[in-house]
């Protein structure tokens, strides 16, 4: 067997999170119309303004068509065949509110999160096990099941809760910020999300507060034939700072499942938001059957002067990823950063990248994208650097590297630059490389197994991005990468 064939064998992955949780659920029948939107809103006991917002998003969505410009191919989605709301039953009995304490949570759910390695018991966390000093919000299908460390955060003035709770307890903040970064009609999937989103996380860090711990949300899709639409809103007021991580997994199912999330970040003067994602939705099997369609709109508004928004993502799962975490650099001297590792194996398709929209003076952005393709995967980087007329002395640096494993996968880059101000400085560097036979032989001749050798080369390639992840998660990301490229040795 040649080295290349062996490498291909090597990258055959097994998905470790493919189990389902057998739990009684309330799922509304498939189909989407205004009544469904009303039903979702009613189930959440939402105030009038939220229902109106959803309905206007829905009406807008009906006038839109699904985008086709991305470098991905998939059968047409039948939006009427999906169910738009699923909740664990015990939850439902609690009136769709988040439970007050862990005792109210179905033990099966807790077990699920234990299996995923996410401790929801605050005591366990405090005892210093994995994930120490991280507050967690867990979203199971459509609803948030629990948020840990709420009290400790409240002491610091930080609000960290499910989106539903925020609508109930902090409607003024929702009214003020919802849809101000990603308008409800922004794009096809964002509009759909705005109409039917079920839950998600909400973070508010008041003026001058440095959030005392890492915040994180774990999303889990469990129910069959349901779409998952969560919505996250993070607000950092003047001088505030917060680091937030989201992780996601889903069971192994033969059919594709739709996930269309929206994330909005708002950073006021001197505020800093670091948003990290470790995305590990079920990618489908070796033949490309099943897997999550991950169509996500993430955008940060560096609204204030000297504000900073950093997106760091490790995208390892999903059958299709369509995702462009972006920054609007509105404040003068604001900074936007995007660090991405996107791994595609088997028949995964990835079209991901970022947009850096420079509007303020002396705004700076950095883009570091590392694409890894194995098997028959197609991996595209799509990036836009826009320097507006008003953005004098703006600077961008883009580094875009692709690593190929085997010879049947593809890597593509679509970098777009629009500079409307002549003082702009825009730099772009791109490389494409292969995990070479020389590298593999060298490392193996030092006693490393093929898998370890491969992981070493790949994590070396990703180093610049891993360095940007919060300490607690860098190790996790590295492990995930290893799992993604795991398989039988030739």
């Amino acid at each position: 067997m040649t080295e290349t064939q062996e490498l291909e064998q090597l990258v055959k992955r097994e998905y470790k999170y493919g189990f389902t949780t057998d739990i009684e659920q309330e799922i509304i029948p498939p189909g989407l119309d205004e009544d469904v939107v009303r039903m979702i809103s009613a189930k959440k006991n939402e105030p009038e303004f939220m229902l109106d917002w959803r309905l206007s998003a829905f009406r807008h969505w009906q006038t839109m068509t699904e985008p086709e410009w991305a470098h991905v191919h998939y059968p047409k989605i039948d939006y009427q065949a999906l169910s738009y709301y699923a909740a664990p039953k015990s939850q439902e009995e609690l009136d769709a509110d988040a439970p007050e304490s862990l005792d109210d949570v179905d033990p099966k759910l807790l077990e699920t999160y234990e299996k995923l390695g996410i401790p929801l018991h605050e005591r366990a966390v405090l005892a210093g096990v994995k994930g120490a000093n991280v507050a967690v919000d867990a979203v199971f299908d459509s609803v948030s099941v629990t948020t840990t460390f709420k009290d400790k955060l409240a002491e610091a003035g930080v609000i960290f809760c499910s989106f539903s709770e925020a609508v109930e307890n902090h409607p003024e903040l929702i009214k003020q910020y919802l849809g101000t970064v990603v308008p409800k009609g922004d794009n096809y999937f964002a509009a759909l999300n705005s109409a039917v989103f079920s839950d998600g996380s909400f973070v508010y860090v008041p003026k001058g507060v440095k959030c005392p711990m890492e915040l994180s949300t774990y999303f889990r899709i469990n129910a069959k034939n349901t779409g998952q639409f969560e919505r996250t809103l993070i607000i950092a007021e003047e001088g505030a700072s917060v680091s937030y991580l989201e992780g996601c997994t889903a069971p192994q199912r033969d059919e594709n499942q739709l996930h269309a999330a929206v994330v909005e970040l708002v950073a006021l003067d001197d505020a800093e938001i670091k948003y990290s994602t470790v995305q590990n939705w079920y990618p489908g099997d070796e033949e490309g059957k099943g897997g999550i369609f991950n169509f996500v709109t993430k955008r940060g508004d560096a609204r204030g002067d000297r504000s900073k928004i950093t997106w760091t993502q490790v995208e390892a799962g999903s059958a299709i990823t369509w995702k462009y975490p972006s920054c609007i650099l509105r404040g003068d001297d604001s900074v936007g950063e995007f660090y991405s590792v996107a791994v595609g194996n088997n028949y995964q398709q990835i079209d991901s990248g970022t947009k850096m929209i420079h509007l303020g003076k002396r705004t700076r952005s950095t883009i570091v994208s590392k694409g890894i393709s194995a098997g028959q995967a197609e991996n595209a980087y799509r990036g836009l650097v826009h320097i507006g007329k008003t953005a004098s002395h703006a600077r961008n640096f883009t580094q875009c590297d692709s690593l190929l494993i085997g010879d049947q996968c593809g890597a593509h880059t679509f970098p777009y630059v629009e500079a409307k101000n002549s003082t702009a400085q825009v730099e772009h560097e791109a490389t494409t490389s292969k995990v070479s036979d020389d590298q593999m032989f060298y490392l193996r001749s030092r006693g490393l197994s093929e898998e370890d050798a491969m992981n070493m080369v790949v994590s070396g390639f990703c180093k610049d991005v891993f360095n940007e992840l919060p300490m607690e998660f860098a190790v996790e990301a590295q492990a995930l990468l290893a799992v993604s490229l795991e398989g039988s040795v030739g």
């Binding site: 062996e6 590298q439 060298y442 193996r444 001749s445 030092r446 006693g447 070493m456 994590s459 180093k463």
Partner: protein, 251 residues
């Protein structure tokens, strides 16, 4: 029992026969030098011994320390105590040198049923070795061979050898590209490895390395065969006369 015994070894690359019947025996405690004109198959022999894919052995046997070498994967050979010092060490960007050293050492320890090396002991040992190679600690934190000069790469190979303490070191032109001081440092490193329980094979073009590391045997490889073997005087003769005469003698 010999440490390494190669019998009638034939090997081809992409259907083309490069090694055409090599016989070579290396006992523990011996240093062998292999010389020969460019393209004669020296590196090919090293790669075949290292078990590189794409190098197909069509005939012959190799035993290493009692194992049938041809049945072993590259990493198994390494763990069994073979170390290949490359003529052209490859760059692995983003992977810290120190990380590779540690992983390599731990792979070996794991096979021996030992625990992972503790960081303190490891760092102490590595720092000493780095100093003995006249290298800067900064090299430990750079990517493996990334942006290293030719000479730095070769020192790095010797550093790995000193740490991993192989039973058999196969050093392919480790002396090429070294300045005079570096040649001395590298030679000292090799001499430190010399010992009753170890075998060393030096592939080289030049007598100057052999002035520092005196070989017990010298072999001339030509067109895939060892056409002449002798003691260290053979290398002196080559240095003085070039290959022409010896090739004619042999044919």
């Amino acid at each position: 029992m010999a440490l390494l015994e190669i019998k009638n070894l034939h090997a081809e690359i992409e259907g083309q026969e490069i090694l055409k019947g090599i016989n070579l025996t290396v006992n523990a405690g011996e240093v062998h030098a292999i010389m020969g004109p460019n393209g004669s198959g020296k590196s090919t022999l090293c790669h075949v011994l290292g078990g590189r894919d794409g190098y197909e052995v069509t005939k012959g046997t190799i035993t290493f320390d009692g194992h049938d070498l041809l049945e072993m994967e590259t990493e198994e050979r390494a763990i069994a105590g073979m170390l290949l010092g490359f003529q052209h060490p490859v760059e692995i960007p983003g992977v810290k040198n120190i990380y590779l050293l540690k992983e390599a050492l731990n792979a070996k320890r794991e096979a021996q049923g030992l625990d992972e090396v503790d960081t303190f002991t490891f760092m102490k040992q590595v720092r000493e070795l780095v100093a003995s190679m006249d290298m800067d600690d900064a090299f430990l934190h750079r990517g493996v061979n990334a942006g290293f000069s030719g000479g730095e790469k070769k020192r790095n190979e010797i550093l790995q050898m000193l740490l991993l303490e192989p039973k058999l070191a196969l050093l392919d032109e480790t002396d090429s590209g070294l300045d005079i001081d570096a040649l001395k440092v590298v030679s000292e490193g090799i001499n430190r490895m010399r010992g009753a329980e170890r075998g060393i094979i030096l592939v080289t073009h030049y007598q100057r390395l052999l002035n520092y590391v005196e070989p017990d045997f010298v072999h001339v490889l030509y067109k895939g065969k060892i056409i002449k073997s002798g003691d260290k005087s053979l290398a002196h003769r080559l240095e003085a006369e070039g290959y022409q005469e010896i090739l004619e003698e042999a044919s």
